[in-house]
């Protein structure tokens, strides 16, 4: 509001803690330090948060520069608000392990599904996650 009255801008979000969801599904939390006209973001003290089920784990990543087009959504985190969440924080190794397991089960089910379909002569082409065209 300060800099562009009547419109929205990220200027006022600078130096505040944010949560950003990227197109590849990653969730980053960090202090937004700098922006530009493409909404490229510079995050400081970034932490990548992995969620698996009810657990989550934080991996400290340092400084991140995110290209604007890869942002799905971005929101400010209110540090003062009491955090009452059912989510349980676990260690990095554990969450990575959980994630790996999750990926594994997903792949297995996918494989089984494909096999079943193949037996019936059907095939569903796999949509590439990164391609939207």
């Amino acid at each position: 509001m300060n800099y562009v009255p009547g419109t929205a801008s990220l200027i006022d979000d600078i130096d505040k803690k944010h949560l950003v969801l990227l197109r590849d599904g990653r969730t980053l939390i960090g202090y937004l330090r700098s922006i530009d006209q493409f909404a490229n973001l510079v995050f400081h003290q970034t932490v990548e948060r992995i969620h698996v089920g009810k657990k989550f784990g934080d991996i400290p990543r340092g400084i991140f520069i995110v290209r604007g087009e890869n942002v799905v959504l971005l929101g400010e985190i209110d540090v003062e608000k009491p955090c009452d969440t059912v989510l349980q924080q676990v260690s990095i190794e554990e969450i990575l392990e959980e994630q790996r397991l999750q990926q594994q089960t997903k792949q297995e089910t996918e494989k089984v599904k494909m096999q079943v379909l193949k037996d019936r002569g059907l095939s569903i082409p796999k949509a590439d996650n990164l391609d939207e065209y």
Binding site: N2, V4, G6, I11
Partner: protein, 828 residues
């Protein structure tokens, strides 16, 4: 100013090497022996071989201005020393002609370039030569080539140049040797060089790439003003005299250039006076590009729009410049004969070369003297926090300290410079910023100020508090924020607000009208206010450069004006074969096309009022005229081709078969003159079953309800009767009508209108002929007979229907009807 070595005078590129009188005794010594009497007793065959190699190399560097003079002036070559010295003495003009970045020692060329007699840095032919000569140097640096002479050069490299580039043996060593005597006053500089030259492999290529980058950048952009440091830098590189405009932003500041400057310092600045002496100015101008983006384009900004704001670095560099015991780097000699860009370098190699500095990363580990972002932010934070940190503060020192090696003394200028804080004061304590809100609607502006006032109080304190505790805040300077804001605001500029920001404008207009209505209904005058001023219309049409009488097309093309490659002429194809499907598709396309054309007309008609208010008095008549034409066209488009006065049924139905067409008609009806509008409604009623069928998928007929009801209300009694008749149409049409929601609604509307007419105006002609009565009877009959489930619920039920029916039917039937109607309404 930078001190330049007296060797400058020698580098006027006289091919006579007698002029090469160097200060250093050793060189003089060599000189005496080289030219003239000094006999060198060495194996002439060996010398000849060496000479041949040198010749080879010199041919490669032919464009470097050697000409025949250098070689010719070599009478005999003595021992290794002499030969090398002679060759070296010969070479300096040539090598010196290489506008090598002598101030790029970390990249390893210092050893070679710095040993050259300090050149007349003013007399640079241009960047083309620079890059080209560098290219040659690189080619020579190729071990395959250079290795030829490498073996025979035993000369021990002097201390500082110990880490000469292996690839440059052939050239380096003579220069190295020559350099040794000149070292005494350059020693403080050289010991610092080793770290650079040690990375021998990438440096030459990287330097070339840097130069080529510069070269390419140069070619690509309009000439721009430069910061002091930059101009000096470029001058030494042979870019020719550029007006030195301190403080002007260049786009190169963020390039590796700056880091290099930081590391090394700047080369000496030669006296400006030499500029005009007998130098052909055309030599300095880079060869005009056939496809320059400048030619034939809109004016190119000196600083492209996307450039981040300049860091306040110019002060630092100025300090560097003024430091007396500055860098003892010899800027290379001017290269006299400009040569075209080397064709030998394939695009691939060029790319590879160009990429290497990028791969390495632009910032060497040493921090420059300027305040880095962090330091500035910390400074800002320290101010915000309120407690003094003793001048520049400890974190700032490493930056200054890093520069120490390149200067004789301690960096007091830096310390002093860092003392005064950066221009942007603590953001939290600034007075309320006056924002430019002229682009906003006044209503919007009012709302904003209210909002800001209410929020300003409680946010400010907590924000400031938080920021003071965060040591990394304010990394983004005020200037940068403003820059981003500026870009975003620029995107909002519009010349036609009604086109670009229609909903915004409309919203505020409506709000205003509403407020006015609420506020002063007593005021009878209601003036439509002019909407906020927008940015003035700036015509940015690009007109391609045209030359009168030129044959053929322009050859100048750029990203802004791509050349038309093909002259495409549109010809209508006559298709003989007519497939039914194609026909159908064509027809559909035709309909869509008609609809589109009508839409554009309609939009113009609708916007007429707004535009009328905005245009000045003189143009209003023209606008009115145009409006009339538009409406005429609209009406005529609905008409049949043969019968010019009647609304074409077919046309209407055709248009209404498309969803967009229905929307169009609904928007168009209010603008049509009433007989025409009535005719359209008749057409709709007549063809309702067909339309209903086509509408099954879209279900958008109900859009028509509102405009149609308006039309109905304006109908005369006879037309109303006609309409009802049309609606009933043939046998069974009414049943179909009743199935359709729109049909039922339409029917009700008609009936309600009739009732209204009857009840309001006793002289109404509705009862004059029995048609109306008969029609109503048939309607009631149908309504009763139709099963309730198939009776479609209408959009709304006019309240006076009951009274209508009560006139015509008996009590029992009336009750039945009532039930049915109520049921229909309830079941909605």
């Amino acid at each position: 100013m930078f001190r330049f070595q007296s060797l400058d005078e020698d580098c006027t590129l006289e091919e006579e090497d007698e002029g090469l009188v160097e200060e250093e005794d050793e060189i003089d010594q060599f000189n005496d022996d080289t030219f003239g009497a000094g006999a060198i007793d060495d194996d002439w065959q060996e010398e000849h071989k060496r000479l041949a190699e040198l010749d080879e190399r010199d041919e490669l560097a032919a464009g470097l201005g050697l000409g025949g003079g250098g070689l010719g002036g070599e009478p005999d070559l003595g021992g290794t020393q002499h030969s090398s010295s002679s060759s070296s003495s010969r070479l300096p003009p040539s090598a010196g002609c290489l506008p090598l970045p002598s101030s790029l020692p970390p990249l390893g060329f210092s050893s070679s370039s710095s040993k050259l007699p300090p050149p007349d840095v003013e007399d640079r032919p241009g960047d083309g030569d620079l890059a080209e000569s560098l290219a040659r140097l690189i080619l020579e640096a190729d071990p395959a080539i250079a290795g030829v002479g490498a073996a025979e050069r035993p000369g021990p490299p002097p201390g500082s140049s110990g880490s000469t580039l292996p690839g440059l043996h052939g050239l380096d060593q003579p220069r190295v040797l020559q350099q040794t005597p000149s070292i005494p006053h350059q020693h403080p500089h050289h010991p610092k060089l080793p770290p650079g030259p040690s990375a021998s492999g990438p440096p030459p290529s990287s330097m070339l790439s840097y130069q080529q980058q510069q070269h390419l950048m140069r070619r690509g952009t309009a000439p721009m003003g430069q910061v002091n440091s930059h101009s000096i830098w470029e001058n030494s590189m042979g870019f020719g005299p550029v007006s030195v405009t301190p403080g002007l932003v260049t786009h190169m500041e963020d390039s590796p250039l700056m880091s290099i400057i930081k590391e090394v310092g700047l080369p000496k600045r030669p006296p400006q006076g030499r500029n005009d002496e007998g130098r052909d100015l055309s030599e300095r101008v880079p060869p005009p590009r056939a496809s320059s983006p400048v030619i034939g384009s809109p004016p190119v900004r000196a600083v492209p729009i996307g450039t981040p704001p300049k860091q306040p670095m110019s002060h630092a560099l100025n300090h560097q410049i003024h430091h007396p015991t500055a860098v003892h780097v010899r800027a290379p000699v001017q290269h006299r004969y400009p040569a075209p860009f080397p064709e030998r370098l394939s695009p691939n190699t060029l790319l590879n070369i160009a990429n290497s500095p990028l791969c390495r990363g632009p910032f060497p580990p040493r921090v420059g003297p300027v305040l880095s972002q962090i330091q500035r932010a910390q400074l800002l934070n320290s101010q915000v926090a309120g407690f003094p940190r003793g001048g520049p503060g400890p974190p700032l020192l490493p930056g200054g300290g890093g520069f120490r090696p390149f200067f004789g003394g301690p960096p007091p200028p830096h310390g002093h410079r860092m003392g005064p804080p950066p221009p942007h004061g603590p953001p939290n304590h600034t007075p309320p910023i006056r924002h430019n809100t002229t682009h906003l609607h006044p209503q919007h502006r009012r709302m904003l100020t209210q909002r800001m006032q209410s929020r300003g109080g409680d946010r400010g304190r907590t924000g400031g508090d938080r920021r003071s505790r965060d040591p990394y805040s304010n990394l983004m300077t005020q200037k940068e924020k403003e820059w981003v804001t500026k870009i975003q605001m620029m995107q909002l500029q519009s010349t036609d607000p009604y086109l670009d920001d229609y909903y915004y404008q409309n919203y505020y207009e409506k709000m205003e009208k509403r407020q006015e209505r609420e506020r002063d209904s007593s005021k009878k005058e209601h003036t439509t206010k002019l909407i906020t001023p927008q940015v003035a219309k700036v015509e940015h049409t690009y007109r391609p450069v045209q030359f009168a009488g030129s044959l053929g097309k322009l050859t100048v093309s750029s990203v802004n004006n791509p050349r038309k490659m093909i002259d495409a002429v549109v010809t209508t194809r006559t298709d003989d074969e007519e497939k039914r499907e194609k026909q159908v598709w064509n027809k559909r396309r035709q309909i869509l096309y008609t609809v589109e054309k009508m839409y554009s007309l309609l939009l113009e008609v609708q916007d007429f009022e707004k535009r009328f208010v905005q245009t000045p008095e003189e143009d209003r008549d023209a606008l009115v005229e145009q409006h009339k034409t538009n409406t005429e066209q609209l009406c005529s488009s609905l008409r049949e081709k043969e019968w010019d006065d009647r609304v074409s049924d077919e046309q209407c139905v055709m248009i209404m078969s498309v969803r967009k067409g229905k929307r169009l008609i609904s928007r168009l009806l209010p603008f049509l003159p009433s007989p025409q509008a009535a005719a359209v409604v008749m057409a709709i009623a007549r063809n309702l079953p067909a339309l209903a069928k086509k509408d099954k998928q879209d279900q958008v007929l109900c859009w028509l309800v509102e405009p149609v009801s308006t039309v109905i209300q304006s109908l005369s009694s006879s037309s109303l009767t006609d309409l009802l008749q049309e609606l009933q149409g043939n046998e069974g049409q009414l049943a179909t009508v009743l199935h359709n929601k729109f049909g039922v609604t339409l029917l009700y509307l008609i009936l309600s209108e009739g009732e209204r007419m009857q009840s309001s105006d006793p002289n109404c002609q509705l009862m004059d002929d029995n048609r109306w009565t008969e029609l109503v009877f048939s309607v009631t009959r149908e309504l009763l007979s139709v099963p309730s489930s198939s009776l479609s619920p209408p959009l709304f039920t006019p309240p006076n229907l009951l009274s209508l029916f009560s006139r015509y039917v008996d009590r029992q039937r009336l009750e039945l009807l009532q039930d049915k109607l109520q049921m229909s309404t309830l079941s909605r």
